[in-house]
């Protein structure tokens, strides 16, 4: 069914297709519309879920954990300070190997209060054991949410998945959306370690230093195994619904001599910037990194790299640029742009590429 939708409503519509047995969530700008829409679905009977209107984000994730360990499907959504407030339980969810799916609407952190897009919130959770995907369109928000359930619940993974969408610049914009009847695309959840009073077990008990690291390593092993599961899931999705996704979205990259890498909606601006530069005779390409955990193998060749980070790790640098340097040993021109919803146009991005100084870092609007 072809319709128009905001990014937030697309996530809610995907959740209605996945039918989690329990949704526990707490409202926060700019995620609010997701939980409001789910509450509407539950109230009007079009989504048969238990909706738990918890009193905090810490409790939202805690309730998802309690529900998930019984072997049922769960979903929550948050943003920014909400994600930070639940951070303890975000770690717990992955450590407990629970296939919880969460949408995080990326938003800057206070102070001062700022409700606009930035990726520092979810990137602070990159070491928790969650899989993380960043989307750039309303359709992709919908599709990634549906795929997230199948990936998380795969026995080879059993790890939670976070779908990240930019606050306002995706959560609140309206685009065309193809809503698909997913049928059996997400198989029924079979959680091997679900609680069973007929087969009692202790969960999360004291674990000595002679064994604890094995359990942590097992998270990493599943993170590595998730690479194949993500590929299979995205291929199966393309076959069934005709929409193809991968680790990165590449735009005019084949013959490019300079690549601009970014995450989220800025990646779409970068495509326009590439068209402008191509008209000027510059062989530019745009590569939008979708998955940040597991971190993808990037096909960078020997091209010059411009990396836009809508985030920052103080005392170190932009997190995407740092990750690319660490993984590939390649230097880049790192532009910190779009912080707290700072406006970044395709003309600005074209400028970043024209004026690139490989090996340096620039804060857009500060150094320039």
């Amino acid at each position: 069914m072809l319709t128009i939708s905001t990014g937030n409503n697309a996530v809610a519509a995907a959740v209605r297709q996945a039918i989690p047995a329990v949704v526990a969530a707490y409202p926060i700008t700019p995620q609010t519309e997701i939980v409001e829409q789910i509450a509407n679905y539950v109230t009007n009977g079009s989504l048969k879920s238990k909706y738990i209107p918890v009193e905090s984000e810490h409790s939202a994730m805690a309730a998802c954990i309690g529900a998930s360990i019984t072997g049922i499907r769960t979903f929550t959504a948050t943003s920014s300070h909400g994600l930070l407030y639940m951070h303890e339980m975000v770690n717990w969810a992955a450590g407990a190997r629970l296939p919880i799916v969460m949408a995080n609407v990326n938003r800057a952190l206070g102070p001062g209060w700022n409700v606009w897009a930035e990726h520092t919130d979810s990137l602070q959770a990159r070491d928790t054991g969650w899989l993380q995907v960043y989307v750039a369109t309303v359709q992709e928000a919908y599709d990634a949410t549906i795929m997230a359930f199948r990936i998380a619940e795969d026995r080879r993974v059993y790890l939670p998945v976070m779908i990240n969408l930019d606050g306002f610049s995706l959560s609140h914009i309206t685009q065309q959306l193809e809503e698909s009847e997913i049928g059996d695309f997400i198989p029924p959840l079979m959680l091997d370690h679900a609680i069973d009073t007929k087969a009692p077990a202790g969960y999360g008990c004291m674990t000595p230093s002679t064994d604890y690291f094995r359990i942590r390593y097992d998270i990493e092993r599943s993170m590595r195994d998730s690479v194949a599961v993500i590929r299979e899931t995205e291929d199966a999705f393309a076959t069934k619904f005709g929409r193809k996704y991968s680790w990165t979205e590449n735009y005019r990259c084949e013959d490019a001599e300079v690549l601009v890498l970014s995450m989220g909606t800025l990646g779409k601006e970068a495509e326009v910037a590439v068209d402008i530069l191509r008209d000027e005779g510059v062989k530019a390409g745009a590569m939008r990194v979708r998955w940040i955990r597991p971190f993808p193998e990037l096909d960078l060749g020997d091209r010059e790299l411009v990396v836009i980070d809508r985030n920052y790790s103080f005392g170190f640098g932009g997190i995407l640029a740092s990750s690319i340097r660490a993984k590939t040993g390649r230097q880049c021109y790192n532009v910190i742009a779009g912080i707290g919803g700072q406006e970044v146009t395709y003309n600005d991005i074209a400028g970043f590429i024209r004026n690139r100084r490989i090996g340096e870092e620039t804060w857009f609007g500060v150094d320039a």
Binding site: V22, E55, S56, S59, G66, T74, T197, P200, G202, M206
Partner: protein, 301 residues
């Protein structure tokens, strides 16, 4: 040869033990005694949700567990919220499994109170039990909001200067279908209250006094005596409340008529060794106020 061993089973409860022998609990631990009776009263179709507290330790070390019901250990502040999710999930599956959160006073009156209040307000179908040893026992007896005034803990070496938080009136403000107070020294009363709680749908709460030999500084053999003295003095009042219908339990009714001297309770415990006269006065004042309010409520005044 005939086996002449006799198994003594408390009337009205199960012969099955859900906590195996030789846990890592301290000698004279009353919180494990409470849990023993809670689980016997609840039966095997029960899941225990345990935040950081002594109970997370006494299960033993992975891959072993001393409990033969499922125990879900969770982060300190999260017990009531995890139990909310679990209760909703069982409800969605049409299961009647008991969900019992079993938390210490730190995890209840301090760090966990927000999640608890939320779960009660949302009418979660679960039983939340706070076993109260009046300090952070698991980490070696630091002060909690539930530590009484004057008690020495490792973070109040000169005795606590603040009063014990009145948890039960905070809980009562949620107007629950069932809440009760109990004490480890009165296991039959405790077990009956657990059974009653679990027979009722909706949010249930129990606050159980759990004397702690190393923390309260008395000999492990005196755990029952100390618990009984807390009740006999009237300091620990036992009752049940079904919405606004209050029933005061027998031992507390007796204490209201003829209380044991408060000083006898303090004298039994090393933690009160530096108790000042005005602190005794404060405790007495708080106790009398509590009993007066309970009596007035029970008499419908």
């Amino acid at each position: 040869m005939t086996d002449i061993r006799v198994q003594i089973v408390m009337s009205g409860t199960s012969a099955t033990e859900y906590i195996c022998k030789c846990t890592s609990a301290c000698a004279g631990c009353s919180s494990s005694l409470i849990l023993r009776h809670v689980l016997k009263a609840a039966g095997p179709d029960t899941v225990l949700v345990v935040p950081a507290c002594c109970t997370s330790v006494l299960q033993g070390v992975w891959p072993n567990t001393a409990f033969n019901i499922p125990v879900y250990n969770v982060a300190f502040a999260a017990a009531a919220a995890v139990a909310s999710g679990m209760a909703a999930a069982f409800e969605s599956m049409g299961k009647n499994t008991n969900v019992i959160a079993y938390a210490g006073d730190g995890g209840t009156v301090d760090i966990g109170i927000q999640a608890l209040s939320g779960a009660l307000e949302r009418e979660t179908n679960f039983l939340y039990i706070c076993y109260d040893n009046e300090a952070y026992g698991n980490t070696g007896m630091q002060r909690s909001g539930s530590t009484p005034i004057g008690a020495r803990t490792t973070t109040t070496p000169g005795g606590k200067v603040h009063k014990k938080k009145d948890l039960d009136r905070i809980i009562a403000a949620h107007n629950l279908p069932y809440m009760a107070t109990a004490c480890s020294a009165y296991p039959q009363d405790l077990a009956k209250k657990v059974q009653k709680a679990l027979s009722i749908k909706g949010p249930k709460f129990m606050h159980i006094l759990a004397p702690c030999p190393p923390g309260w500084r008395y000999d492990a053999s005196k755990t029952i005596e100390v618990g009984k003295m807390a009740v006999k003095t009237g300091l620990w009042a036992m009752y049940e409340r079904e919405y606004d219908l209050l029933t005061i339990s027998g031992p507390t009714k007796a204490a209201m008529i003829k209380p044991a001297p408060l000083e006898d309770y303090f004298k039994m415990q090393g933690r009160f060794s530096g108790l000042k006269e005005e602190q005794v006065k404060t405790v007495r004042g708080e106790m009398e106020r509590n009993l007066r309010m309970l009596k007035a409520e029970a008499e419908g005044c």
